[in-house]
């Protein structure tokens, strides 16, 4: 259990401390865009996503708009978000044992 927790915190720390290289960033963008593209081949999910988005935000972004936002991400911006979201002192834990 402790080994699991330690390795998890180590990965979070790495995302907080180390800026992604251009190569890593491009590879991760390519993977996520590909995953979204594959998932978009499900019309039922597309209909439900559209409904939810229109219900709450009165708009529905195309996958292309999301791809553009992903392409615009920078290593500096990601580091900032990782430090905001993955700070160890701000994380809760729940364990069933």
């Amino acid at each position: 259990m402790d080994a699991c927790l330690n390795l998890t915190y180590k990965e979070l720390k790495h995302l907080r401390d180390v800026k992604m290289t251009a190569l890593q960033l491009n590879a991760a963008k390519k993977q996520l865009i590909g995953q979204i593209g594959v998932a978009s081949d499900n019309n039922e999910n597309n209909a439900l996503d559209m409904a939810k988005s229109f219900l709450h935000y009165n708009k529905f972004d195309s996958p292309e708009a999301l791809f553009h936002r992903i392409e615009s991400l920078t290593a500096e911006g990601l580091l900032e978000v990782a430090n905001e979201m993955f700070a160890e002192e701000m994380l809760s834990t729940l364990i069933y044992r």
Partner: protein, 313 residues
């Protein structure tokens, strides 16, 4: 994606995405979920979803379930913290049938007490099943920890003792608060003429009048991290790590979504899967998730550690 939209005089928003498929999907999405229940209504949003198929002013439950099934279609629904969706999948030619049925279900359900009494037991069985599935239960319990003392932390299914007290009047009280045309959208994805879509939806709603209503929500209080160990009589340990995330409107949400995918997304090459499972064989599974609500969010990592034999001695 190209889509068409229109608002009816009664305030209902209609959204249509054209598709070339022979199969179409349509339904109502209502801006009402678990977080919109009052203290004594826990489980009501989900319960309404169940009861929607149990009778309207002109149909018995049997007629409802057969209406789309008879033409090879199906009826489906789900509830979450912020919305309830009731929808159908069918061959495009049966769109008029689907619209008429869904409008009847959403606006003219009667929620008979005899059906409530039967359905309560079905939901309580669902709760028991859920309690026996710690790998799912822990996600709800974690949200309870992150949104402590706020309706967002509540379990969608509710509590058996409250469910058993629900009456027709209670259910109607809930739907009369939230089931207004201005508080929902009608969505369609299919190879349909949009003018025909609008005409048929409007026709089906001829007796549903305009009533101004928009769900208003209170945001959860400030977040204080907590660490909790819960003894469970299971062979398997389950672990959640995480905290508050960005709301769905946040400009930083895409960055967190991206980081989440790198860390514990569905790919087997995610950082956590490689580190904990592939390299060290410490877990059966590991994943990270991001849920964004309209005013807040949750980021979490779920681990199923492998307990070595010596730990069990």
């Amino acid at each position: 994606m190209h889509y068409n939209q229109h608002t009816l005089p009664n305030g209902l928003r209609i959204i249509h995405a054209p598709s070339l498929s022979k199969v179409a999907y349509c339904g109502y999405a209502v801006d009402a979920g678990t977080r919109d229940e009052q203290e004594n209504e826990q489980g009501m949003a989900h319960f309404v979803e169940h009861l929607s198929f149990k009778g309207t002013e002109k149909r018995k439950a049997w007629h409802i379930i057969n209406r789309m099934e008879n033409v090879g279609g199906d009826l489906n629904a789900y509830t979450n913290k912020e919305e309830t969706v009731i929808y159908s999948a069918f061959l495009t030619e049966h769109f008029p049938r689907a619209v008429e049925l869904l409008t009847d279900i959403v606006f003219h359900s009667t929620f008979p007490q005899r059906e409530i009494d039967k359905e309560v037991e079905v939901v309580i069985d669902e709760i028991k099943l859920y309690d026996d599935t710690p790998s799912e239960l822990i996600f709800d319990d974690f949200e309870d920890l992150i949104f402590k003392n706020h309706p967002l932390g509540r379990n969608i299914l509710g509590k058996p003792e409250q469910l058993r007290n629900f009456t027709t009047a209670d259910v109607l009280n809930f739907t009369s608060r939230y089931y207004h045309p201005t508080n929902m959208v009608f969505f369609v994805l299919g190879n349909l003429d949009f003018k025909k879509v609008v005409r048929l939806v409007e026709k089906s709603m001829h007796d549903v009048l305009f009533s101004e209503y928009k769900t208003i929500r209170n945001s959860p209080p400030a977040y204080i991290p907590e660490h909790l160990v819960v003894p469970k009589d299971t062979n398997q340990a389950h672990v959640m790590i995480g905290g508050r995330g960005y709301d769905a409107y946040s400009e930083k949400r895409t960055a967190l979504y991206f980081l989440n995918n790198i860390l514990g997304g569905p790919g087997m090459n995610s950082k956590l899967n490689v580190s904990l499972r592939e390299r060290k064989a410490l877990v059966y599974s590991v994943e990270s998730n991001l849920t964004s609500y309209t005013d807040t969010g949750v980021f979490c990592i779920y681990l199923e550690p492998i307990l070595k034999m010596w730990m069990l001695v």
